[in-house]
């Protein structure tokens, strides 16, 4: 996780900024509209997948919400919206983060990479995507974008992880179908350790 924005800090920020929205069980914490915007800038620029995007962002809005519902980047999935499943994993400055637990305002000066930004300019798949395809990593596929992004982050730090290290690298991402073995094989293939 991004050391500059811990889960505790995020939750504290939400509590302080959005007291009026504590209705559901967390789903709308980041989306409630009833709080005055005060001095917080609404129209901001964020760098997503190498492009600068202008977007109207509420102070308490999560990155997952912005990506999915304002930038139409629906590859980032919401499985829990409370930092438990990892389906919304994106990279922020190369580090894996849960987009559901990241305030969009906190990424203004940073580079966000989503599953849609992995393909090369010529349309070819990222090596992790290619490896996951060859290993037929997904089952239902709902967790897969998050698994892919976690694997990309892992291999950027550790190009040839052991299977145990790969397991730790993907440990923030749940797969209810139980496709873990296939995903691990995908990481090992992407790192050139499985042919």
């Amino acid at each position: 996780m991004n050391p500059r924005l811990t889960r505790r800090r995020f939750i504290k920020g939400v509590i302080y900024s959005s007291a009026a929205s504590l209705s559901g069980a967390g789903f709308y914490l980041a989306n409630a509209q009833s709080r005055p915007a005060a001095a917080v800038e609404r129209l901001i620029s964020i760098n997503v997948n190498g492009a600068t995007r202008r977007v109207d962002v509420l102070p308490q809005e999560t990155l997952a919400h912005t990506l999915r519902y304002k930038l139409d980047l629906t590859g980032t999935k919401l499985g829990c919206n409370r930092g438990e499943c990892g389906a919304c994993t994106v990279l922020i400055d190369g580090i894996s983060n849960y987009a559901c637990s990241t305030l969009t305002h906190s990424v203004k000066q940073r580079e966000v990479l989503t599953i849609e930004g992995l393909r090369a300019a010529d349309g070819s798949l990222h090596p992790v995507q290619q490896a996951f395809l060859e290993e037929l990593g997904p089952q239902c596929g709902f967790c897969t974008p998050g698994q892919v992004m976690a694997a990309v982050a892992l291999l950027q730090k550790n190009a040839r992880p052991t299977r145990e290290e790969a397991r730790l690298g993907l440990s923030g991402n749940l797969c209810r179908c139980g496709a873990y073995d296939h995903y691990l094989n995908g990481v090992m293939r992407a790192s050139g350790q499985l042919s």
């Binding site: 069980a25 989306n31 499985g79 499943c85 037929l136 596929g141 974008p145 993907l170 209810r176 873990y180």
Partner: protein, 801 residues
């Protein structure tokens, strides 16, 4: 047999979308003017809404409307209503609010005032069954299902019966389901060993990773419905009935589904909300739910409290099993006790058996099918109990399982029906060899505070049906369109099964296109994608449809080139004279002729016995190519069984009570392997589910207030990658079933049953045969046992801390 496509790996066409994020799930669809609905849910486990004041919510800017139970057709309990004022569990939807965005809808919920009359509640079935105990519903606590329908009843057991049951003695009590075969008394009299145990298995939520979402809108009297189901065509008829429309007035769209595991086989009550709401407000309406709401309305496995008495002859043959199960049916009353008993009758082939059961309503979440419902929790409990009896006889656990394993002559279930084929002994032999059971069972077991345990367990589920339709179309350009009504639930069976049609057509896979995911594309009637049935059922349906296409191509060729149908063959996407291969037509030419000839050749006519949905599909395709369409009327004279056996080695830490699964091997007995990577997913995914049942997953309710305590994923504990073995192994017997044209059967559910049984067996083995008789076995239970503190299983408590 050598196949062109069957048994070979391929890349299913939806896989790339899943790894690039382009795959669309129901929440990813938008429609101009769409509004968003949110649910107001019950805060109490039991009660009645006396009155609701929605006036303040309706006055809010952006609120479009409110849908209540009064807007929906009445639903008679025990059927679960989409919205209701009669409250029987926490989280039950009461009404829905639609607004121009979700935030406003959510805020509007807070402006609604309700007055609720509370009623007594119960979260443990035995607390309801005991005389004087509360009933979950005002009408009673059980349902008697008979020929004339369902009837509620308040069923009570004497305090003595409940006390006996809790303490592992046969209860003298009334049941709602009973069956038996064989001479129980005589078989038990001959037994060399008899074991008698009480047991309890926890219910737990499906927690499919995609929170279910529905979006629907109406155009020209038709409903366009984006849903999230395991099945595709199987949804059409019940969903149309739910919405009160004709079959051809519904377009059901479901390209991808984020998990189901039994909770999304067919339309669930929640789906009525967007359908009726969109009609009421005349705008597209999307309803997506939270993770917590997925816990409440996303279904769950029924729990079970039971008593079992099993006897073995001196040679290890299972002579008799007597089984009592009280199911926790939650708010839907669904229980699977009879299926539990049936699984024992298959796997262990007892000479005599009796089952008695009752499913009791509790004020907990509605229960439904969950991967091997009944069968898999029974496998979990039975494996270590059988081990105990085997140890008393001084026999080998694998050898005894082989002795009792079913074969193709075996009779199964209460009705003692036949199987299409069964090769359980071959699976056991293969697994024992690959796992090196004979050597490992004699290895040293203790290393300091770490203890090894070896386990073996079996799984069974019926795995195939018949009587559904297949539909293929050969375009005038020669491209082959394989239409399937099989849903995309993540098993890739929608793609694997149409390869049976490609096999018949002897065509290149690259020249095939799978048509699926949208009713209006012309999809045939299909079974529901549940119960491990798809591979058996739809390889048959695709096979017969492709045979129809080949027959028509031969007829066309004979009409144009002379001779009879028998004079023609197919190969390399041509139909040609067998004795003069240069005389023939390409598939493209045959399809062009079919369009010219019309009638049955290009969909102008269709067989009388196909389903109405398939007939509608054929009419959509008429005139666009050569149509192959048929109902599966192939012979099927027994239950198609899915069988599996697993071997597990665990390393259990006596200080922490935790264990690692250091080796795991499962062998599938599912006939011919159709799609090796799909089988791998089924076996490994099923294995993960089994391990989760063995050690992690359960409902927890506060018995004082009826409140659930573990709605989220973190507390519900589905298996993480760190809980899973670092490597998972699997194999297959790969012997064809004679009642499937490519020899295939299903395996999804047995893959879980064998895993949980093997792990439970291994835990018991590590602790010198100790029986916990409970799922899950958690570290605190192990530590208490190791510390020689009595773990009180005899209370059979469930749904509690």
């Amino acid at each position: 047999m050598t196949y062109m496509h069957i048994g070979k790996d391929f890349t299913p066409p939806d896989a790339e979308g899943k790894i690039t994020g382009q795959a669309r799930y129901s929440e990813d669809f938008r429609k101009e003017g769409m509004v968003f609905a949110r649910l107001l849910t019950s805060p109490v486990p039991s009660g009645r809404v006396r009155n609701i004041d929605v006036s303040e919510a309706l006055r809010m800017d952006g609120v479009i409307g409110i849908l209540t139970a009064d807007d929906l057709p009445p639903v008679e309990r025990p059927a679960v209503a989409a919205l209701s004022n009669e409250l029987v569990y926490v989280g039950q939807p009461i009404l829905a609010v639609a607004a121009i965005n979700e935030q406003i809808a959510e805020n509007a919920l807070e402006r609604i005032r309700m007055e609720i009359e509370r009623r007594p509640f119960v979260v443990d079935p035995l607390d309801s069954l005991v005389e004087g105990g509360p009933d979950a519903f005002p009408e009673g606590n059980v349902v008697i299902r008979g020929a004339s329908g369902s009837e509620f009843k308040s069923l009570k057991w004497s305090r003595q019966a409940v006390e006996d049951f809790r303490n592992g003695r046969e209860p003298d009590a009334e049941f709602t389901t009973e069956w038996s075969y064989g001479d129980m008394e005589a078989e038990f009299a001959r037994c060399a060993v008899v074991v008698e145990e009480a047991f309890v298995t926890a219910g737990y939520p499906h927690h499919s990773l995609e929170p279910r979402t529905c979006m629907s809108y109406w155009e020209n009297g038709r409903c366009y419905f984006h849903g999230s189901l395991q099945s595709q065509s199987a949804a059409n008829a019940p969903l149309a009935r739910m919405l009160g429309i004709e079959l051809d007035q519904l377009c059901f769209i479901n390209e991808n589904t984020g998990g189901g595991f039994g909770s999304r086989i067919g339309p669930y009550p929640f789906m009525a909300i967007s359908g009726y709401f969109s009609r009421k407000v005349n705008r597209p309406v999307q309803v997506r739910i939270t993770r917590e709401e997925e816990f409440f309305i996303g279904s769950a496995r029924a729990g079970a409290q039971g008593w079992i008495k099993a006897g073995l002859n001196a040679d290890g043959r299972v002579a008799a099993i007597d089984l009592v199960i009280v199911n926790d049916g939650g708010a839907s009353g669904s229980g699977s006790g009879s299926a539990s008993a049936g699984a024992l009758s298959v796997v262990y082939q007892p000479a005599a058996m009796r089952f008695r059961g009752v499913s009791v309503f509790t004020n907990t979440t509605p229960r439904g099918a969950q991967r091997g419902p009944g069968q898999n929790e029974m496998h979990a409990i039975a494996a270590p109990i059988l081990d105990k009896a085997i140890r008393q006889l001084g026999l080998d656990r694998v050898a005894v399982r082989r002795l009792n394993g079913p074969d193709s002559t075996s009779l199964i279930d209460a009705n003692r029906g036949p199987v299409t084929s069964a090769y359980m002994r071959e699976a056991i032999d293969k697994g024992a060899e690959l796992f090196d059971w004979a050597n490992r069972v004699n290895q040293p077991r203790v290393a300091g505070r770490k203890v090894r345990g070896l386990g073996v367990g079996q799984g069974y589920h019926s795995a195939g049906s018949n009587g559904y339709d297949g539909l293929v179309r050969i375009g005038t350009d020669g491209r082959i369109y394989l239409h399937t009504g099989v849903g995309n639930l993540g098993t890739y069976s929608y793609a694997a099964t149409v390869r049976a049609a490609a096999e018949v057509l002897q065509c290149r896979w690259e020249n095939c296109e799978i048509v699926r995911g949208n009713t209006d594309l012309g999809l045939p009637h299909s079974s529901g994608q549940g119960g491990s049935n798809t591979v058996f059922t739809h390889t048959r349906a695709n096979w017969v449809a492709a045979q129809d296409a080949v027959q028509k191509m031969k007829e066309i060729a004979a009409a144009e080139l002379g001779g009879t149908v028998e004079d023609y063959s197919i190969a390399e996407e041509r139909v040609f004279r067998t004795d003069a291969p240069e005389q023939g037509l390409t598939y493209a030419e045959a399809a062009q002729r079919a369009v010219q000839m019309g009638g049955r050749y290009s969909g102008g006519e269709w067989p009388d016995d196909i389903n109405e949905l398939t007939a509608i599909a054929v009419q959509k395709l008429a005139g666009t190519g050569l149509i192959g369409v048929a109902k599966d009327n192939l012979e099927k004279t027994g239950t198609a069984p899915g069988l599996a056996i697993a071997f597990a080695e665990i390393e259990l830490d006596l200080d922490t009570g935790k264990y690692d699964i250091v080796d795991y091997l499962a062998v599938a007995e599912c006939g011919t392997v159709v799609h090796p990577k799909g089988l791998s997913h089924g076996m490994n995914g099923g294995g993960i589910w089994g391990m989760g049942m063995a050690g992690f997953e359960r409902h927890v309710y506060d018995p004082q207030n009826g409140l659930p305590a573990n709605m989220g994923l973190y507390q519900s504990k589905p298996m993480t990658i760190l809980d899973a073995p670092l490597h998972m192994r699997h194999a297959a017997v790969d012997m064809p079933d004679p009642q499937n044209p490519v020899g295939a059967r299903g395996i999804g559910e047995p893959a879980m049953g064998c895993a949980v049984a093997a792990v439970m067996s291994a835990i018991s083995d590590a602790l010198d045969g100790h029986l916990f008789n409970r799922t899950p076995v958690t570290p605190d239970m192990v530590i208490n046992y190791v510390a020689q503190q009595t773990y009180n299983n005899k209370s059979l408590k469930t749904n509690t801390f």
